[in-house]
Structures are given as structure tokens and as C-alpha cells.
Symmetry: C2
Subunit: 526 residues, 2 copies
């Protein structure tokens, strides 16, 4: 797949961390045993390592290898130790000093796309990235189908195997590209929404979509990689970023971690629009969150001419307000085949600014659709159009986001203008045109310098958890401190949602730059 | 097998313990989740249990079950928690209050015989015992053959499977007899010598019998029962009593634990004569130990008419010193088929006291053997005899024990008469006639009230470790504090051994009651 769009990480946010990874390598030179010093092999190694790592275990199936390597390497070995929460375990023993060769894997496990980052654990830096589509899609593109299928033990096994197969493909590519063995990967951290974590671990997600929406687990903690069939060191820990609830998962907690907003006094808003939309509001003192199904309209899956952000997708649209001429750009400059999410938002914004639709999102006059790409230019040989129905869908998504934000603000007694920083997470947030997103009211109207694209913040959160014990500790704290509001059951939210009918917002004063633009263009700015 | 001789436990030593078993059962009534309280199922249970057990984990494969049981049992469940050293793990979740139904298994895994005790963990008491021969014997009666075979991965697998099959047979019998399910056994503790632990866990024992005699591990700690195929709760911990070295294993540490000698100020000697002979000398301030191959001569495996302590074995012999008439008793009062260890020691003592042999162990006159059972009375139709060669073998074993004791005493600057209490461990120690053992010098000549038979102290040590965290802690302390002397490499020991040629001892003053007996019978008491 064209992975470059998925794996980009933002570097405008830099989080200070001490490198203290999920696995450690220690080189030790042991005194050989003698008649006077008859400590056993495993005990000898463990007691030398316990200085740097108290409460250390060794799995049974590493004991014979330990004895062999100690004896063949003249009692000079490198041990790999891995964290399992309240205890550490020796997960590998290699001859000689191998401390410079130390790798981990950070994963963003998305519903659609899976990204893996091979991380050099001596520096904490990414050495290589690889992405692929989530193999679970063969059983169902949308998450509800997968939840339904995973209601049986057989279905759960299928879902787990599909996710693990995708990860193993990525692992094989990373190992090959990075010129390391797959079992050299000694620690794994994963950011994913709650359903995806359930499906990866073979857990029953059935109760996620039934009130009161309670998952099997939000903090699965540290799982032995071999227990789910991951082809890295089988004893390696797989750490799942903790979730908050059924609809605010470890991917969001990872995003909050990557943004650093939980450490700053200023009020910040974090929004991740993907298949679901999640929103976190807060600062270093409190965090509130909510979520809702946002995605389909913006993922290009619902619009008549919508498509995924793949080759040939129209991702940018401009309408000359004087001539009405449409210009567009496509991914990889291929012949246009459809419109992806960022293209749809661009369309909507440009139609508003060109006066073709009104603030209620209705075509003026008798128009009922807008031709973005004429048939003669398109790859399909048919017009690529943007219809009233498409507009209504995006308006609903936008309305839900507006309503959710107002609900959150009200619940903590803050106003829209109190928001000081805005973080846009995810691939969609990365590629969306900021001006268009503000114009249609999807993003708040803040000084652009205070609007930060985080890129794949779920993957970046996983990388932080992989390379820093402090980051893992903070992720646990974040997941515990977030107050989650369940919108599915909220009448107040529904009222706001129904009332949220205009572009960019019912109250245009919340969007001063958009108001200015509309005024300039002599469009109705009431 | 006739197990009653193997499974007897001594009750003259009672160790005060607080019942705090390797696994715990806790009944909890959880608040059901709601929209306002959306904690996930597993997290909800763990947080309720963490009050009584911090640092609690749950294995992945119990998470779905947890969710199911919580929901079907109306959030009222009994969790079984198990200790894995530095952390605890939830290993079962049952509906309702099952705290009264709580079982563990204590094992004495001997080279020849395996004994299992089903322990009620609510009281710490044994509910049932069962014994069987170690199935490894099919590959080799003696331990050296098994060590040799276990030098390859395939051989190790065979040995492990044979030991586990024996244990699973015992477990099935205990579960049936105790009217419980096999998976109701939620914790296992095992006492065994170092080689047997290696063979049970599939570890390579090759270095145990090569200088400097270093095992793979002395403190294997807590192993998941399912990882070696034990048919109890697969998540249950199997705790192996820690060993000291290749020849002083967890069975001896368990014996010291069961004796309580490590807590008392008086100088005590602990002797376990089985296939190997082990000896520990010490008190609450220090402990020294040594070991050597002792067994064959006394296990009845070497003597011409020797046999195991099975039905028909002569276990008691008396010689009327006036008439020379021999009386004997056999196990189960069957027709005599051979002489077991205690019978051999009896023979030797009675021959000395009857003046048939001298203190050097030589037949007087031109005799070269002694008929214990004439052909007409024996099950074999042949005389059952006790020969000069048999005497020489037992003398060597006895000599080794004397030499080892003197070596230990000398190494700590104590004398024979400083020993205040003597503990005899194991089945052999249980059935040996105390007077005969003293007469031939196998046991020290102490006031008989200070000579304590511990019975199956390896099994009792396992039971203590199973029911008490304090006992496990003390076992670890004992294994760390014992100073082990390797006799295989000691010239001083060899000199003592060679010099240790008389019955009961070269220096008869060490054996005042035997000296008295010999004098009374007008036998040479120089």
C-alpha cells in the first residue's frame, strides 16, 4: 500500500523522555563456578542481574539455553530483561556483548490500517516503518461486523489470527529492511482502540456495543507475545496502551501521551477523527472525553463518489470564486477515481466560500449536486460529483463533533474561546486542509500556530510506551484520570446535535476568521 | 503399590504455621457496571481484589471466562489468586462463594517412589495421600542412567513426560478419592532432589555429575503447572522447594523445614538416607551439609538377597544370643522373598551382638555367610542369606556416613557428643530399627528421646511450602544459608572414610550404649 500517508509522525511536539525501554539489555561477566562456588547457572545469572533489576524471573523454557550459552560463551553473556508490570523477566541470553543490538516494535493497530515502527531501543529512535491494511477487513470492513463475528470462539480466533497475520507480515518486512532477526525484537507496544485490542487478543467484544458498553478489559497490561502468535521473541512483552472505555481506547490515550497536553496548564482539545471520532478536552489538572461513530462520512466510504485515501483519490479541491473553475489534486497524481475524506471537506468548504451552498449546507437555486471532476477527466469515465446527500452526511458528522465539544465544554464549565491549543490526531488529521476544516466547523477557529497536527499519535504513543517506563506510567495515569462521557445515552448531547445545523457553527462568533472570509466575499455572515 | 510405608508423615514435630497458602480464594460481590461506572470487567475484578493482593495479574486466557462468569453470576464470584514469587495472578473465577472448596497438592518426587498429598487449603491439613513408583524407572532404575539419557532434548522430554505421567496418575486418584475436580487443585509444591527437579522440568542434568557439579538451577521458583503438562488448573503455580547444590536438593531443604531444627539453638543432625545420603548439621545460627551416594547398599538393590521394601521383604531380624535361633518379620506377613534395607541393618546389628561377626565386620571362624531364612521357608525356594560381601557393602555406606559426619563436625569445630538432637528423614529412616541403626553406627548414640523420625519430610516440607508463605520464605533462607561441602573432591573426607572401618565406630566411646551392650554380652568392646 501507499504507506507514506499513514506512517508519518509529527515532530512539532517533542516530549522529553529518558530512554528506559520495555526491555533492557545487560552485558555481564560472571565468575565461573567452582567447587568452592557452586551456585547454579540460572541462579548465578539472575543474582548478577538482580542488582539492576530486582524481582527478576526466568521462564522455564529459557533455562537450558541459559546454561548452554553461559558455558559456551565463557560466562560472558548479554541478557535481555523485559518488564511485565510488577516484575521483570529474562527473555533472552546471548553470547558476548550484544547491548548495541537492541530492538522493539511500536504498533498502531487501526481498523483499516496497521502501521509498525521498528525502534532502536538504544536511542529510542525509529529505524524503519511499514504499513499494511488490517487483514480483518476480509471479514468485514466496518467494525460492527467484526464485533458481531467475534461473538463466537471461532470468530474470535479468526479475528485474532487475521490481525496477527497482518502484524507478522509487517514484522517480517521490518526485520528484513532493518537487517535484524525477527526474534531480535524483544518488546512490543501497541496503540489501538478498545475493539481492536479485543480482537487482537482474542477477547469477546460483544458487550462493547450494548449498553452500558462495557469491554472485557481496558488495561490488559503485558501479554507474552508468543501467547498470541506474534513472530518476535516469543517471551517478549506486548504492552497495550490502556484504554478508558469502549469508545476511548489506548489509541486515544497514546495520542494524549504524544501530545503532552496532560502536562500543560493551558486548556487543550484533542480530536482524532477516524472510523470513530474521539475527543479529549483538558489540561494538567483534568481530562474529559467522549466519542462517537464519526468516520464513514469522512473516510470516503459513504459519499457517492467517495473512496479511501488511495492512489487516484482527489484529496484537494479549489473553486475559483470568480470563474467558478474547479482545480483538484489527486494522490500520486493519478487520474481521479473518487474523492477521499480531505477532498470531501475541501469541497464543502469551497462550495460555502464560493457561495454555491448556504450556511445551512443547501445548494442555492435548483442545483442538487456539484461536478468536481468531469467524466472526460476521470478514471471511471463518469462525472465525479459531490451531492446534497454527501453534504448532509458530512454536516451530520460535523454536527456530532460540534455537539460533543459543546457537551464537554458545558460539563466542565468552559467556553469555546477558552480552548488554547488544538491537536489533530491520525492520518485524516494529518492530511486535512486546516483552513477547510475550520471553514466547515470541523476544527475550532484558533490561531493557526496553536493548531497542531500530531500525525499517527497512536503509533507515537506506542513508541513512547516502548522506550520509556515513565511514559507507560503516565499512560496508566491518563487512562485513569480521564472522565468519560457516554454520549450514546445522553439527551443533552442529542439536543445539541439536532441544533447544530449550520456551517461552520450556529453561532458564527465562535469562528471569527470564517466570519471574516464570508464577509469579504459578501456572503451571508449571520 | 503398598503405599502406606511411603506416605507416613511424622507428627512428633509440629511446626507452628499461619495458613497462608500458595493460592488464595476470595469471594467478592462487585457493583454491576453502569453508564456512570464503566470500568471494564477484568479491571473491575482486579481492582476489587488488589485490596487483598497488590500487584495482581490476570493471564490472557482467563479474561473471556472472567467476563462470562461475572455476568452469569450476577457479579458475585470467587477468584482464585496464586503466588508466583514477586507477583500474584488470578488463576480462576467461579460463580458464587466457593471459598470453602480450596485444594492444593504437595508432592514428594523421589527417584523410586512418588507420593502426592491432597491438601485442604482452608485448614492446611492432608485430606488424602497416594503413592506410586516413578515412571522414569522404565528408562533406568538408577539416577545416573537417567541423567545420561536426559543429555539430549528427546531424552529430557521422555524423562519429563514419565515423571508427569506418574504425577497425573496420582492426581487422578487423589481427585477421585477426594471427590473434587482435577482442576480444583490450584497450587502445587514439590520436594525433590536436584536431579529429579531437573528431570521433572525438562532441564539438562548433565553437569550435575561432572565436576564442579553445577546444576542448571537450584531455585526454579514458580512454574506454571500447564507448562509441564500437569493435569491440575493449568494456571496453577508449581513451587519447587529450593535446593542447595547438585546433591543437596529441595527434598533436604524441605526436611530441614519440616524438622524445625533451623529455628532452635541446640545442635542437631539431620540425616536422609535414600538413594543418596544427605546430612545437615546445624542450628538456628548456621547450617552445613554434605552428601554422597549412599543408597544402593541399603535400598536392598546391592545385597545378594536384597530387595525393595515390598510385600514379602524381611524388614526385621532377631538372633537369640543363646540359642542362635533367627526370627524375622516380613512386610504384609507374606512368605519371605528377600531382605530390605531395614532388615539388612538389623542383620548386621544382630550378627555383631550375637558375636557372629567382629567389630571389623568379619565373620568369626570360617563362616562366609549367614542364613536368615532357610530355603524351606522362603518364597523363592532358596536360602535367603546375608554374605560377607553384603556386610562389606553396608560397612562402606556406614563408613561414608561416619566420615561425612566427622568431616562436618570438624569443619565447624564441634564434637560428636555436642549433637543434641538427631532427625532421621525418609521412608528408610521411618522403618529402620533405631537400636540396630545405633548398634552398627549408622545413627549417633543419643538418648532415644532425642532421636526423631521425620517420616516423609520432603513431602511434609512441600506441604508446609504449599500452605504457608512464611514457610516458603524460610525454605529460601535455609537454601541460601546452608554451606555445602563437596565430598567428591575432598581428600580429608577420603582419609576419614578409609579410616572408618569398625562397628559401630573406630572410637567406641562415641557409642556408650553400644559399648555397654557389647560388654554385657562379653564381646570385645575395645
Amino acid at each position: 500500500m501507499n504507506s507514506s500517508r499513514e506512517i508519518i509522525l509529527q515532530n512539532r511536539v517533542s516530549v522529553d523522555i529518558t530512554i528506559d525501554p520495555l526491555s533492557r539489555k545487560r552485558y555481564v561477566e560472571l565468575k565461573p563456578p567452582s567447587l568452592q562456588d557452586n551456585q547454579a547457572d540460572v541462579d548465578r545469572l539472575l543474582s548478577a542481574l538482580r542488582d539492576c533489576c530486582p524481582g527478576l524471573h526466568m521462564p522455564l523454557n529459557l533455562m537450558n539455553k541459559t546454561s548452554e550459552v553461559l558455558r559456551s560463551a565463557d560466562w560472558r553473556v548479554t541478557a535481555t530483561l523485559a518488564c511485565f508490570g510488577d516484575y521483570w523477566s529474562v527473555i533472552d541470553v546471548e553470547p558476548g556483548d550484544k547491548t548495541g543490538h537492541h530492538y522493539g516494535l511500536a504498533i498502531d493497530l487501526g481498523t483499516t490500517t496497521v502501521v509498525g515502527y521498528l525502534v532502536d531501543l538504544t536511542t529510542g529512535n525509529i529505524k524503519l516503518a511499514a504499513a499494511d491494511y488490517n487483514g480483518q477487513a476480509q471479514y468485514g470492513d466496518d467494525i460492527l461486523t467484526r464485533i458481531y463475528l467475534a461473538g463466537t470462539p471461532e470468530g474470535r480466533a479468526q479475528m485474532r489470527e487475521a490481525a496477527v497475520a497482518t502484524l507478522n507480515k509487517i514484522i517480517a518486512r521490518l526485520a528484513k529492511g532493518g537487517d535484524i532477526g525477527q526474534t531480535d525484537i524483544s518488546a512490543v507496544a501497541v496503540g489501538a482502540n478498545t475493539t481492536m485490542i479485543h480482537l487482537l487478543l482474542g477477547l469477546d467484544p460483544s458487550h462493547i456495543c450494548m449498553a452500558p458498553y462495557i469491554p472485557v478489559v481496558n488495561r490488559p497490561g503485558y501479554i507474552r507475545a508468543g501467547d498470541i502468535g506474534l513472530r518476535v521473541n516469543p517471551e517478549a512483552p506486548l504492552y497495550a496502551l490502556p484504554g478508558v472505555g469502549s469508545y476511548v481506547g489506548g489509541d486515544v490515550v497514546g495520542g494524549i501521551l504524544a501530545s503532552g497536553l496532560y502536562k500543560k496548564p493551558e486548556l487543550a482539545l484533542f480530536v482524532d477523527i477516524g472510523t470513530n471520532g474521539e475527543m479529549v478536552l483538558g489540561n494538567n489538572e483534568w481530562l474529559v472525553a467522549c466519542a462517537g461513530a464519526a468516520g464513514p462520512a469522512l473516510e470516503g466510504g459513504v459519499a457517492r463518489c467517495g473512496m479511501r485515501a488511495e492512489m487516484g483519490a482527489v484529496y484537494q479541491v479549489r473553486i475559483d470564486r470568480r470563474t467558478g473553475k474547479v482545480t483538484y489534486r489527486t494522490i500520486a497524481d493519478e487520474k481521479p477515481a473518487g474523492i477521499c475524506g480531505s477532498g470531501l471537506v475541501d469541497c464543502l468548504a469551497e462550495l460555502l466560500l464560493a457561495g454555491i451552498i448556504d450556511r445551512a449546507g443547501k445548494f442555492k437555486g435548483d442545483k442538487s449536486e456539484f461536478i468536481v471532476v468531469p467524466a472526460c477527466e476521470s478514471a471511471t469515465g463518469r462525472d465525479i460529483t459531490f451531492t446534497q446527500a454527501d453534504i448532509n452526511n458530512i454536516m451530520r458528522t460535523k454536527g456530532a463533533i460540534n455537539a460533543a465539544l459543546e457537551y464537554l465544554l458545558e460539563s466542565v464549565g468552559c467556553r469555546m474561546e477558552d480552548i488554547e491549543t488544538f491537536y489533530a490526531a491520525g492520518a485524516f488529521g494529518q492530511h486535512l486542509d486546516l483552513e477547510s476544516a475550520v471553514t466547515v466547523g470541523l476544527y475550532p477557529d484558533l490561531p493557526r500556530g496553536k493548531m497542531i497536527r500530531l500525525g499517527n499519535s497512536s503509533g507515537e504513543g506506542a513508541r513512547l510506551a516502548l522506550v520509556s517506563g515513565q511514559a507507560r506510567h503516565e499512560a496508566e495515569e491518563i487512562s485513569r484520570s480521564i472522565t468519560y462521557f457516554e454520549l450514546n445515552a445522553s439527551e443533552a448531547f442529542m439536543n445539541k446535535f439536532v441544533g447544530s445545523k449550520f456551517l461552520p457553527h450556529t453561532n458564527l462568533d465562535y469562528y471569527p476568521t470564517v466570519k471574516e472570509k464570508l464577509k469579504k466575499r459578501r456572503l451571508n455572515a449571520q
